[in-house]
């Protein structure tokens, strides 16, 4: 990071934070999405609960 200016460092940090936030949010939302998708495709019907 030594070759970057202060402003560039700030932008890079923000970009990294956005990337991390997006990945974490997607990981947490995957099960919610999967349940919706499974119900939609009637996967539940073939499973025993």
């Amino acid at each position: 990071m030594s070759g970057f200016s202060r402003r560039q460092k700030k932008s890079l940090t923000l970009a990294a934070r956005y990337a991390a936030a997006t990945v974490v949010t997607l990981i947490f939302l995957l099960p919610v999405y999967w349940r919706k998708r499974s119900v939609k495709h009637a996967v539940l019907r073939s499973m025993k609960f």
Partner: protein
């Protein structure tokens, strides 16, 4: 006479007004507790007419019940793994979202979604995720392994605990995150700036300023989640139903089984009282340790 009555009413009017509330509180809160204590000394089984008192027999039986102590062990194991994980991941997430960034509120709102779902739905959701045929977890593992790997998450004894802990951590890390985010936002900025000017390292700032400042919130969060984890039921019921065998049977599951499958009502009440006693001891120790109650 009339004057005396009205003076008496005036003086005690406040008590008369709160009396119904207190009465309802006592009826709703204390009566079931006392009633279940009485039941625990009886011999009610739902299958027999005999409801005679049998003293401490149920409590004696508790100490010989290997399945109960196993269930307590399972509960303690899940709590010991899931609680620090939730705290650690919640803290990391809180650090990530601590500084201002556009769209932060949207991320936070989306992240909180798992917490607002009912635990039984969360368990059913993760059962779908772990499903061998349709679940994405198996597909992701297959992709990285380069071959078809059969992972029976809810059946294989070495995978059931990771499955339960993953589901539990997924659902409750956002709760920890929210509490810690609120606590971290309230840390005195002037102290942090002073430490930065003095050239203190990130680790030192964390250890000597941030952690002591948010310690009461951490204590409350750990206490709330610890108690919740000790009562864990829904997620396990949806994922494994306590199986394979009784490998993931927790105290709540065991209590439910003896109460509503074996109909041993009095013994169930005794187990419930043992849990209440254990939790009271643990909570008192934790509160004293954390110096929340002096």
């Amino acid at each position: 006479m009339g004057d005396r009555v009205s003076r008496y009413t005036d003086r005690n009017f406040k008590y008369l007004m709160v009396a119904p509330g207190i009465l309802i509180l006592l009826l709703v809160g204390i009566f079931p507790l006392i009633y279940s204590l009485v039941v625990s000394f009886q011999n009610i089984t739902m299958t027999e007419v005999d409801t005679s008192f049998q003293g401490l027999l149920n409590y004696k039986q508790l100490f010989k019940d290997a399945r109960l102590w196993q269930a307590l062990g399972h509960t303690a194991f899940i709590t010991a793994i899931a609680l620090p994980l939730e705290l650690f991941l919640g803290f990391l997430l809180a650090q990530l979202f601590l500084d201002r960034m556009p769209g932060r509120q949207i991320f936070v709102a989306l992240l909180v979604l798992p917490t607002v779902i009912s635990p039984i739905v969360a368990g059913a959701t993760w059962r779908l995720m772990f499903d061998v045929r349709f679940g994405p977890i198996g597909q992701i593992v297959n992709y990285f392994a380069g071959e078809s790997v059969t992972m029976l998450w809810t059946v294989n004894p070495s995978l059931v605990y990771p499955a339960i802990i993953i589901c539990e951590v997924w659902q409750w890390t956002p709760f920890m995150f929210l509490l810690l985010l609120a606590a971290l936002s309230n840390v005195d900025q002037s102290q942090l700036e002073a430490a930065e000017l003095d050239g203190a390292s990130y680790r030192r700032v964390l250890r000597q300023i941030v952690i002591p400042a948010i310690k009461p919130v951490i204590a409350i969060a750990v206490l709330i989640r610890g108690l919740d984890l000790f009562r864990i039921f829904d997620i396990i019921w949806a994922l494994t139903e306590g199986g394979p065998g009784s490998m993931t049977e927790t105290v709540s599951l065991y209590t439910y089984i003896i109460g509503f499958a074996q109909f041993d009502t009095s013994y169930t009440a005794a187990v419930a009282f043992l849990v209440v006693a254990l939790l009271t001891v643990v909570v008192t120790i934790v509160l004293r340790r954390m110096e929340l109650v002096k």
